[in-house]
């Protein structure tokens, strides 16, 4: 993408659970059309950062700006308006277990559009076939595999053609081939939709395959210690923790 227009700006963000500060002084900008990776070791607060960005948990201090609107300082109506532009794929898929795949994908359409039931059906089967689940409309989430659930979650996240897609550990728990296919799917779909994508992950293969911008959260320093294109970070970063992370710890061995 050539146009470097800021889409999401995180400003001086601190996140905490009660008195325990998880991360402080987070500052970064996600440009329109970016595939932005939030990476870091387990338990560093990647998922919490995503929760703050999508409006599920309020930050201790700081701002999350969508273009010029500060999410946590605006009215509830405006927040709801912003949230309608989000598509979110949760770690577990988070499909509503009492509904079929068709009903899962149809719910956002029924809530926010005036489409007739037959039009909704058409859109739903389009979305399901985009993720390779055509024919599974009548299945319940418990009747399909983990990988299929993730893809169905992706179909639901894209139901309203959102401007911003959030993915929480998209390839966690998938075999390498399914993970790769999901990565490809994410790239293909977001490129054709022109969406901005934020991916929370620690899967190196995914990070290098899909990311064009990123931040690294350091669990010990409790703040972000690097930002930029992950491939560039691998080539240029001087921070030993970032290097260890991006090389799967191999550099640590060499240093010994």
């Amino acid at each position: 993408m050539n146009n470097k227009e800021p889409h999401i700006t995180v400003h001086d963000l601190t996140m905490a659970y009660g008195d325990f500060v998880l991360m402080r002084d987070l500052n970064f900008t996600v440009n329109r059309g970016d595939v932005f990776i939030v990476m870091g070791g387990s338990g560093c607060g990647k998922s919490t950062l995503m929760k703050i960005m999508v409006g599920l948990k309020s930050p201790a201090t700081g701002k999350v700006l969508y273009e010029d609107t500060s999410f946590w300082e605006t009215s509830p109506e405006e927040q709801e308006q912003l949230m309608r532009n989000f598509g979110i794929l949760y770690q577990s898929g988070a499909l509503w277990s009492s509904m079929t795949l068709e009903e899962n994908v149809a719910l956002p359409l029924e809530q926010y559009t005036d489409l007739s039931p037959s039009q909704v059906r058409e859109v739903v089967s389009l979305k399901l076939s985009l993720v390779g689940l055509a024919g599974f409309e009548e299945f319940y989430p418990s009747e399909i595999s983990g990988g299929m659930r993730k893809r169905a979650g992706l179909a639901r996240a894209m139901a309203l053609d959102p401007e911003i897609l959030f993915f929480d550990e998209p390839s966690a728990g998938l075999d390498p081939i399914s993970a790769r296919l999901l990565d490809d799917l994410i790239l293909e779909l977001t490129a054709s939709l022109g969406a901005t994508v934020v991916v929370v992950t620690h899967e190196l293969a995914s990070i290098f395959a899909i990311g064009n911008n990123s931040i690294f959260l350091d669990v010990d320093k409790r703040t972000m210690t690097a930002s930029g294109d992950p491939k560039k970070l691998l080539a240029e970063s001087e921070d030993p923790t970032v290097r260890r992370f991006l090389t799967r710890g191999e550099e640590k061995e060499q240093a010994r």
Binding site: E80, I88, Y90, L95, W96
Partner: protein, 384 residues
């Protein structure tokens, strides 16, 4: 690891020698596994304290059989002791695998602030914390009641977002599906009341008044109370577990970020279904209870069917039924609120779902009994 030669298990043994004056050589022999009883660290310590003073510690493991974590924990204890008293320890004599495991265990230093301290707080602090907990819970309860009132408001003007099919399904689960258990319990309660009463009344030849006793008790009290308790255990727990599991699976998060209020989508249909079905179940329970009394009255105490029914009809009026039905509607609200509130408050683990279900049942039953007590006092005062 153990070939034909070492097949016979030899228990772990320890012996000591002094190859040099300041060196203690520890000889480990036999099998050192956690399943066997192993020599204690004290023996090594005793040897080390003996004269002449020991400066170095070495190991000989030529006769060591099988070993596992039992040996490693023993050695860690030994090294801990000796590092305190500044004695050199030489690990050369230990098998390779043992040395690697020891290195691995020491690779990441213990995180000092990570271990949870079991500190005993002063009594006043505990009381303070408990009070603040109660205040927080009350706050959560009031917020929940406020939000559900708003959701009901939206429902009555037709603006609430929920699926009609969910509502019908929940009505079925709270209504028809509960009939067998309500039938069984109410019938037995009617039967028991009749038995207990009949024995006493028979002493005065007043068996016919079994009908009054059973009729009034079922209509005013037991019908509502028993359905309330059945529904607390059956449906309240189910609500808490369903909504709690949805919290664990991030399904509730998915609703919120989709702009759908979980209060309208999950809580409203459940509360509405239970509040509508409880009075109906209560009426049904009243009827079945009276039938239970009839079986005892007609079957064992020579009262005819018509006589019993006529006596029941004469003893009951609409106020009795109205009071019972009104109470059951209130119990319905209590069970639904406790179930849904606990579900929404549920933490993010499997055990939290269990806790939510348990807590929903306990809360509902306590609330039902307390409320019923208040009803008894109030109806007595106003004379109905």
């Amino acid at each position: 690891m153990d070939g034909g030669m070492a097949a016979a298990a030899a228990p772990g043994e320890i012996s000591f020698s002094r190859p040099a004056e300041d060196t203690l050589l520890v000889r480990l022999a036999g099998d050192w596994t956690i399943k066997e009883e192993l020599p204690s660290v004290e023996e090594v310590k005793k040897q080390a304290d003996s004269r002449p003073p020991v400066q170095r510690l070495a190991f000989d493991t030529q006769d060591l059989g099988r070993w596992d974590s039992g040996l490693i924990t023993f050695l860690i204890k030994v090294f801990d002791q000796f590092s305190q008293s500044q004695i050199d320890t030489n690990r050369e004599g230990l098998p390779d695998g043992v040395r690697r495991l020891l290195d691995l265990a020491a690779a990441v230093p213990e995180k000092k602030d990570a271990r949870k301290e079991a500190l005993r707080e002063p009594f006043l602090v505990q009381v303070g914390k408990a009070s603040m907990d109660i205040a927080r819970h009350m706050g959560a309860l009031v917020t929940f009641l406020g939000e559900s009132t708003i959701a009901f408001g939206k429902f009555f003007v037709g603006k609430a977002k929920f699926r009609r099919s969910d509502l019908w399904l929940t009505i079925q689960q709270c209504g028809v599906d509960a009939l067998p258990i309500v039938t069984l319990i109410s019938f037995l309660v009617g039967l028991i009341l009749a038995f207990v009463g009949a024995v006493q009344l028979a002493m005065f030849g007043a068996q016919i008044y079994i009908a009054n006793l059973v009729g009034i008790a079922m209509a005013r009290e037991m019908g509502a109370l028993m359905t309330g308790i059945i529904m607390a255990g059956r449906t309240g727990a189910a609500f808490a577990a369903q909504i709690g599991t949805m919290q664990v699976n991030e399904e509730v998060d998915a609703l919120i970020t989709m702009g759908v209020s979980p209060m309208e989508f999950l809580v409203l249909p459940r509360m509405f279904a239970l509040i509508v079905m409880m009075p109906l179940l209560c009426l049904y329970a009243d009827l079945v209870g009276i039938l239970g009394g009839l079986v005892v009255g007609a079957g064992m105490f020579d009262i005819s069917f018509t006589q019993y029914m006529e006596q029941t009809r004469a003893s009951l009026n609409l106020t009795h039924f109205g009071l019972g039905v009104f109470k059951s509607a209130v119990f319905g609200v209590l069970v639904a609120v406790a179930g849904c509130l606990r579900g929404m408050e549920c933490g993010r683990s499997a055990s939290a779902v269990g806790d939510a279900a348990t807590s929903a049942v306990v809360t509902s039953i306590v609330l039902i009994v307390v409320t019923d007590g208040i009803f008894a006092v109030v109806t007595n005062i106003i004379g109905i």
